[in-house]
């Protein structure tokens, strides 16, 4: 009678990552085709507002990719990745407005700034272990918007009002308008980052992350330096999420403290769970979910979109306890059950 359904908490980081990183031609072809579709279809058909929404979903997908490395593969919980998203966004905003830096030059800097910040936060918190990281990052998420409003740094951050940026112009040879170009830029960067993450997770480092998550004592006996790997994983995660924040600043053309409140961190966490904790492609679904579900909820009920949002979320997690990424497996399991009945 018992199905393989697990409680939601129980799925946290228990997904088995498929092996065989070997260059599978068919797989490469499918990925290329998916990328071409994801690029061509919106550019051909989407309105400029829809392109903007998709661009934003892309930045969220990258942010969740960063969060998922820490939670899905290394088993640490961060409730404050919105803070890194914010710092990345502000780094880009400040460099573009105060230093006249071209947008693309600010991206690696934002990633490094957030990586260093992540290292600084992770270094002590990860040594304490358990829920300390969750609480430390949560405090960070609470503190960051207030720090951004602080009078003393107003000249740089723009204080409560925030700062406006200029959307980059599409290079002429592309023949695209600015919205189309930015979408393609974010999509390409996202694809590269996802590819790098897949490489990393199939390597000895990814294996070490998962080993530490599964059994720290045994991992140490295999020569894995837990503190070092956890801290670096967290720094990498923060850097990627910061890069996503930087891209979002460029897409939105505006940064303000209230765009980066605690709700953002919670949204990223929800997006990760919905996409599939410990799944490489899950964050793509998570990013789309964060951007489009509020619209859906709003269209169902103007009066109480929050309630609809909650109901959809719960219903969804009930149907797909392993997130979107677990959907094919769930279908397969249902078919198998049918056959047995």
């Amino acid at each position: 009678m018992s199905t393989s359904q697990q409680p939601i908490g129980g799925t946290l980081g228990t997904e088995v990552v498929p092996v065989a990183p070997g260059v599978n031609l068919l797989r490469a072809a499918i990925i290329l085709l998916a990328f071409a579709m994801a690029a061509a279809v919106p550019i051909a058909f989407a309105s400029s507002y829809q392109l903007f929404q998709l661009t934003l979903a892309g930045t969220y997908a990258i942010a969740i990719l960063g969060l998922n490395i820490v939670t899905g593969f290394n088993g640490q919980i961060s409730l404050g990745h919105g803070a890194f998203y914010a710092v990345g966004a502000y780094t880009t905003a400040i460099l573009m407005t105060h230093f006249d830096m071209p947008y693309w030059e600010t991206l690696p800097i934002a990633a490094v700034v957030c990586g260093v910040l992540g290292f600084g936060v992770g270094f002590p918190a990860l040594r304490l272990g358990g829920l300390y990281l969750a609480l430390t990052t949560f405090s960070l998420a609470v503190a960051v918007p207030q720090i951004l409003k602080y009078r003393g740094v107003e000249d740089w951050t723009g204080g409560v009002q925030g700062t406006f940026l200029v959307k980059p112009d599409a290079p002429e040879f592309t023949g695209l308008n600015n919205d189309q170009y930015l979408y393609l830029f974010v999509l390409t960067l996202a694809a590269l980052l996802f590819l790098m993450m897949a490489n990393l997770l199939h390597s000895r480092i990814g294996r070490a992350m998962r080993s530490i998550r599964d059994h720290p004592t045994a991992a140490e006996a295999m020569g894995m330096d837990i503190a070092r790997i956890k801290t670096r994983t967290f720094a990498l995660s923060a850097g990627i999420t910061g890069l996503a924040g930087a891209l979002s600043a460029i897409a939105v053309e505006y940064v303000a403290p209230d765009s980066f409140n605690v709700e953002l961190s919670i949204n990223l966490f929800v997006g990760m769970v919905v996409g599939g904790v410990g799944s490489i492609v899950g964050p793509i679904f998570g990013g789309l979910f964060i951007v489009f579900l509020p619209n859906v909820a709003e269209s169902v009920s103007r009066a109480a979109p929050g309630v609809i949002y909650g109901v959809i979320l719960i219903f969804f997690l009930y149907l797909l306890p392993q997130g979107f990424a677990g959907f094919p497996r769930r279908i397969a399991a249902l078919f198998r059950k049918r056959r047995q009945d």
Partner: protein, 262 residues
């Protein structure tokens, strides 16, 4: 390094609050030797084992491995020194496949870091291929090839124990610490284990420290046996001598050894 034993344990004392779990034990393990460590329940075997594998720091005494001090070194350094281990109650990486579990044992032999792995540089691929071939060889030796891609948690107990062995061996230890490897195995499996331990000692050029309750297994495979009782060494010699030692017999019959009767 001639004349120096592979492992030298000197005057180890471990106290837990008021309890002295190990009270001044010394012994040595030579190259390519299988050394059994026996004693009744609570004798201090696991505690001593944990000192050698770096889990506990002894209150007194020191442990040298190939002349180098082991005490005080961080745990993740042990396998790099050449000390590998398995666990009394399985300690596999549950969500990983058998192959990935085995490869995890080779972690310290790899050099690729975060950036090199993320970019999948050509040498990273070569390094991974080399270790993968080694994993393949060990899985074949331990009859695990058929289940290589299976998540390890779904396998029977005896198979999981072989995975642990493969994971320990791929790390190229000079000394292999085994805590009760026969626990939970049936008769036939224990015989297989005895054969495996001998083959491993020859084939991998290593020494084994075997903590075990299964007396037949210990006496059968060990070159020498160290017996503990109440945290003290009561015998140290060939299996034949230790088996016939009056203190050992008394300890296993539940009496206080006559030397200590004061």
């Amino acid at each position: 390094m001639s004349g120096v034993a592979l492992l030298e344990v000197s005057n180890i004392v471990v106290r837990f609050g008021g309890v002295t779990a190990v009270g001044g034990v010394s012994f040595a393990v030579d190259d390519q030797q299988i050394c059994g460590l026996i004693g009744p329940n609570g004798a201090g075997k696991t505690t001593l084992f944990n000192c050698i594998s770096g889990i506990y720091q002894p209150n007194e005494g020191d442990i040298r491995f190939r002349g180098e001090m082991v005490t005080g070194q961080p745990r993740h350094r042990m396998i790099g020194l050449g000390i590998g281990r398995t666990f009394q109650n399985l300690a596999l990486f549950r969500s990983l496949s058998v192959r990935d579990n085995v490869l995890a044992g080779a972690h310290h032999l790899g050099r690729a870091g975060f950036i090199a792995c993320g970019l999948h540089l050509p040498w990273v691929g070569r390094e991974a291929a080399r270790l993968d071939a080694e994993a393949q060889r060990l899985m074949a030796m331990l009859d695990l090839t058929a289940v290589a891609e299976v998540p390890v948690a779904s396998l029977p107990f005896g198979t999981q124990k072989r995975v642990e062995m493969a994971r320990a061996l791929i790390g190229q230890p000079r000394l292999l610490l085994l805590d009760e490897p026969a626990a939970g195995l049936n008769h036939g499996e224990v015989d297989e284990l005895a054969g495996l331990l001998r083959r491993v000692r020859e084939g991998f050029n290593l020494s084994i420290l075997l903590v075990e309750h299964h007396m037949n297994l210990v006496m059968n495979v060990s070159d020498k046996v160290v017996a503990l009782d109440f945290g003290r060494k009561i015998a140290d010699g060939t299996p034949h001598d230790v088996r016939n030692d009056p203190d050992v017999i008394a300890a296993y019959l539940g009496e206080a050894p006559h030397e200590r009767a004061a």
